[in-house]
Structures are given as structure tokens and as C-alpha cells.
């Protein structure tokens, strides 16, 4: 088993491949090893909502049969993966962390899921998340919060808290999450694992239960940057079932990792280092930037003047889109129905009882922003400000190759610490929503721990469809900082 120093003794994608090729372990044995670990650890972490041993073992058996025949193995052969519970899986319950879909079993696979299966992955199960991916702490799940495996009284981040936690706790080799305003990168930061948000349109969203359609992305968590690159190579690319998926060709992300970073221009926007940034986070991120400079990167100071308006614009646009997307949950076709005498009353009662407090809050906010008399003042204005934020990124990328920032202003906070104050929770998304609005790719890569032992994340943004560059810089940092072999 090849190991990383940050996660000693961990299974990685190359380790699985080696074990299968040398017959040290079968796909079935590796899969069963993970299921046994999950059964032991999950009651404490609450990171998996549903396990899928039937489908997973069938997948493992197919890989073992292929090995016995001497077939060439697909890129993720026998790699146990976890999938966020907002992504559809045929025959496997998909709740979106909501009571309204408690018993919903999708009749089709998301394209990303289908591609993982075709690449040989074995499915462990579905991970807990904030309800409909709305939240930054995983405390908005109808099935209880996930605990951060690094510090059990702390949140794992959100909304993809379960997908981050299972990778950090060695309960999956890699996982899929989704990112609308930071929901991959921030839990990656809080749990100390690499976490990649691809460019908008890079990965098909067919089968992803929609939250905010102009912002939603699917991306991987892994213990190494190269494993994240390997997963992206499998799931990226155009899909006829998603008209927003891009037709741009998919790079060989693994090949890009070895390229030297010497001479690259790394932009450091002052706007991401102002008040509200935790001192220890600042110190770790500054140290990480110094590591990149020692590797020959050139540090370029940046000013991105509309950064401070990003949260306000994001929470109008995302909630407006959510209020529209979530109209489909009305008790008619799937999920919960609360019986009532009339159709209108059935809609209202079903939605009132089926949705949790944060989802209702966002539907209310979005409905208000779109309602007659407020549309121009809120929604249209937010879209105009979004243009300015995207322009900030376009201007910056005239001068630099990547932009580096903290992923989040603080390390993981305690369970319950922010739960009563929605605005404070929203403000914590300050460094991630900017890139979401611009549609650029971004990764969070671990850059050390605070004195209390909580992980800190370095965020790296790149140009549209330049995931290769983002991964290359992340990998170079990871290697230079001793976080990986």
C-alpha cells in the first residue's frame, strides 16, 4: 500500500490498483474492508445516510472477474467511493438530507455516477449533507449533523460535510460532493482533505437534484490531489442530457500534475486577507504562499474590488433559483405527501412539514427577491453585481495564472456555535462564493493545522476550464509541504 505522510497507511487510487494487479487483495476484499470500517465508525460520525452493499459488491465482483480474465482494468477499478445524497443513484435511496425525500429511490443514475461505475468504482453509499445542499455546517440535515472526524465536537463544514468526513476518516477512498457557494471547498478545508470544485459546466449535473442551476457543480474529495485529478478525469466532459455541460475537451489532469510551477504568477488578492480572517488561518495561508514562492512562483498582489459584495449577490441569486427549483416538491409525484382535502392545502402542508427551517428560509428569501415590485431591486441588481465579480476575475487572470486565498475565514467551528444565526453562517462563505459566481474552478488543499489541531485550507482558483493548472499548483504545494509522498 503506498502511503502519504498526511494520511499514513491510507488506501489511495494507485494503492488499490497495485493491490489488485499484484493480487494482494481482491476488489471484494477491499470493498468489505471499507464496509466493516464504516459499520464501526459511522454511528459516531453520522457521515453515511445509506449504504449500498448490494450494488457495491456486484461492482466489486465484476472487477474481480475482469482481473481473473486478465482484462485491462478501467481507471478506478475497485476504488470504493461515496456519493453525496443529492446525486441520483438507481435503486439507492437519495434523500437530499430532507424528510420530504426520506423514501425516494431514483429510477436513474446521475451521469457522474454512471461514469464512476463505468470506470470501475465500487459504491459504498450515500453521504449526509445539509438539506438540499443548503448550509455550511451540515447541521441542516434532517438526519442529524455529521461530526468532524478531526474533532468530534466540531462541524465538518457543509454542505458536503459527509463526503468530506468519510474521506478524512478513511471510510472511502474518494467521494463526490457538490459545490454551489463553497460546499465542496469549505468542508474540504474543515476536514483537512483536498476538495475540488470544477469549472461551471465541466461536469454534467444530469441527476443532481438542483439547488441553484447557474451555480451548482459536482466535484471530488480525495486524500491526495492526484486522486482528485483522477476522479475529475473520469467525470468531466460533455453530456447530451445536460445542455449546460461544456463541450470543451477534457485534459489529461494526471499528466499535468508533474509540470513544474516555476515562473507561474500567483495572485494574492488583499481583499481576502482583511478583517474577519482568523490569525492562525492567515499565518498558515501566508506560509503556504511562501512555499509556492520558494518553488519559483511569482507573487502578484491583487485588488478585486467587488469581493465585499459577493455574499449579498450570492444569497439573492442562489435563493431565487432555489425557490424556483424546489417548487417541484409538492407531494404530487414523489416524496412526502400530507393528505389534505384540496390540492392547494396539500401543497402547503406537505412543503411546510417536509422542508426544514433553512430550506424554508431560503425559499422565502428567494420568493421575496423574485416577487413583483422587488425583482429589479434585488434579483436583477444581484445579477449585475455578479457581472462585476466575474469581471474582477477576468481582470485578475490577465495578470496572473492562479489566485490563492484562504478557503474559509476560520477553521471548523463548534457544533451549535452558529446554528441560531443564519446571517453569521452566510458570512462565513465570503471567500468561496466569489469563485462560484464567476464560474471558475477552485480547489481547497490542506495547508497545516491550528494549535488546537484543526485543519486549514488553501484555496486556489484558476481560469475557466484550467483545472489542470489548479491541480498542478495544488499538487506542487502538497508535495513541497510534505503533505503527500
Amino acid at each position: 500500500m503506498s502511503a502519504t505522510s498526511h494520511f499514513p497507511g491510507r488506501w489511495t487510487i494507485p494503492a488499490v490498483r497495485d493491490a489488485l494487479r499484484t493480487r494482494k487483495a481482491s476488489a471484494r476484499e477491499i470493498y468489505s474492508h471499507f464496509i466493516a470500517r464504516i459499520e464501526k465508525r459511522n454511528p459516531e460520525l453520522n457521515a453515511y445516510l445509506t449504504l449500498s452493499p448490494e450494488r457495491g459488491l456486484a461492482q466489486a465482483n465484476r472487477i474481480d472477474a475482469a482481473i481473473a480474465r486478465g482484462d485491462e482494468l478501467p481507471p478506478l477499478a475497485g476504488v470504493p467511493v461515496a456519493i453525496k445524497d443529492v446525486i441520483s443513484t438507481t435503486g439507492i435511496r437519495t434523500t437530499c438530507g430532507s424528510k420530504i425525500l426520506e423514501h425516494y429511490i431514483p429510477p436513474f443514475d446521475a451521469t457522474a455516477v454512471e461514469r464512476l461505475e463505468r470506470a470501475g468504482a465500487t459504491f459504498l453509499g450515500k453521504t449526509n449533507c445539509d438539506e438540499f445542499a443548503m448550509g455550511g455546517s451540515n447541521e441542516n440535515s434532517a438526519y442529524g449533523p455529521v461530526k468532524n472526524p478531526v474533532a468530534l465536537d466540531h462541524v465538518p463544514g457543509g454542505s458536503s460535510g459527509g463526503s468530506a468526513a468519510v474521506v478524512a476518516a478513511d471510510l472511502a477512498v474518494v467521494s463526490l460532493g457538490t459545490d454551489t457557494g463553497g460546499s465542496i471547498r469549505q468542508p474540504g478545508s474543515f476536514c483537512g482533505v483536498p476538495a475540488l470544485m470544477p469549472t461551471y459546466g465541466r461536469v454534467s449535473r444530469y441527476g443532481l437534484v438542483a439547488f441553484a442551476s447557474s451555480l451548482d457543480k459536482i466535484g471530488p474529495f480525495a486524500t491526495t490531489v492526484s486522486d482528485a485529478a483522477a476522479v475529475l478525469s473520469v467525470i468531466a466532459g460533455h453530456d447530451r442530457n445536460d445542455s449546460t455541460s461544456a463541450s470543451m475537451s477534457v485534459s489529461d489532469y494526471l499528466a499535468a500534475l508533474g509540470q513544474p510551477v516555476e515562473g507561474l504568477r500567483i495572485g494574492v488578492p488583499e481583499d481576502y486577507f482583511g478583517t474577519g480572517l482568523d490569525d492562525e488561518v492567515r499565518a498558515k495561508v501566508e506560509a503556504a504562499i511562501s512555499v509556492l514562492e520558494k518553488l519559483g512562483c511569482k507573487r502578484i498582489p491583487l485588488h478585486m474590488p467587488h469581493t465585499e459584495f459577493a455574499i449579498a449577490a450570492y444569497y439573492i441569486i442562489a435563493t431565487a433559483e432555489a425557490s424556483s427549483n424546489l417548487a417541484r416538491f409538492d407531494g404530487v409525484r414523489y416524496g412526502l405527501r400530507v393528505p389534505e382535502e384540496t390540492l392547494g392545502k396539500m401543497y402547503r402542508t406537505t412543503r411546510g412539514q417536509g422542508f426544514g427551517p433553512e430550506v424554508k428560509r431560503r425559499i422565502m428569501l428567494g420568493t421575496y427577491a423574485l416577487s413583483s415590485g422587488y425583482y429589479d431591486a434585488y434579483y436583477l441588481r444581484a445579477q449585475r453585481v455578479r457581472s462585476l465579480i466575474a469581471q474582477d476575475f477576468a481582470d485578475a487572470f490577465q495578470k496572473v495564472d492562479v489566485i490563492v486565498t484562504p478557503t474559509a475565514p476560520t477553521p471548523a467551528f463548534r457544533l451549535g456555535e452558529k446554528a441560531a444565526d443564519p446571517l453569521q453562517m452566510y458570512l462565513a462563505d465570503i471567500y468561496t462564493v466569489t469563485g462560484s459566481l464567476a464560474g471558475v474552478p477552485g480547489i481547497s488543499v490542506p495547508c497545516g493545522d491550528t494549535a488546537a489541531g484543526l485543519p486549514v485550507g488553501l484555496q486556489i482558483f484558476g481560469r475557466h476550464f484550467d483545472e489542470a493548472r489548479v491541480l498542478q499548483v495544488a499538487r506542487s504545494y502538497e508535495r513541497a509541504s510534505g503533505n503527500a509522498d
Binding site: G201, I311, I316, S323, V332, A382, R384, S387, Y426, R463
Partner: protein, 105 residues
């Protein structure tokens, strides 16, 4: 207060959400607080700025890549999932979803 109790009730009606009295009170104060924060958007001069409703790759990357393909042919494909969809509907009478009376008296 920016948001009145009537605003909350009106929005809940538009969104088809049945709220308890406690929820109406809570959302009134929280929406008021959040929209108060959002008002900072008013500081930005957007007079000459186009709204961005979708990610525009050329604008944000300084490039001109056409990321999106032509619309695909409108070809009818068989739908094979009608059975499993109806099988888990709250109330199905194949091939329909059954709902309560639509006209309210």
C-alpha cells in the same frame, strides 16, 4: 422593520408554504436582518452593467471559447422509467398521478 408580518404571509402564500405562528415571527426577523445586509448592493453603481444570468466564459476568462455545443437534434427516445416512477408516487392510478380536488370551494 423592512419586512412586515404581512410580507411574510404574502411570500409564504406565493411559495406554497404552511408556516406556524412561531415560524412567521422567526422568518420576519431573520429576513429583515438578511435583507438589511443585502442592501449593501445598493452601494454599487450598476447603471452600465449587464445582468449575468448564466456563466459567460468569454467575459470571465478573457478568452472567447465557445463552451457550449449546438443544440442537439430533437429526437424522441423511449422513456423506460415510467413504471418505477409511478411505483413510488404517493398516490398513482396508472398512468396518472392522483391528486385531491383541484377546485377549492
Amino acid at each position: 422593520m423592512k419586512i412586515s408580518r404581512e410580507d411574510v404571509l404574502r411570500v409564504a402564500e406565493l411559495a406554497h408554504l404552511e408556516l406556524t405562528t412561531a415560524e412567521v415571527d422567526m422568518y420576519q426577523s431573520q429576513l429583515d436582518q438578511i435583507l438589511g445586509y443585502v442592501d449593501k448592493l445598493m452601494q454599487v453603481d450598476v447603471a452600465k452593467v449587464e445582468p449575468m444570468s448564466q456563466v459567460v466564459f468569454a467575459a470571465a476568462s478573457g478568452g472567447s471559447a465557445d463552451a457550449h455545443p449546438e443544440l442537439r437534434e430533437d429526437v424522441v427516445l423511449p422513456c423506460t422509467v415510467a413504471e418505477p416512477i409511478l411505483a413510488q408516487a404517493p398516490d398513482a392510478a396508472k398512468p396518472f398521478f392522483r391528486v385531491p380536488r383541484v377546485i377549492e370551494r
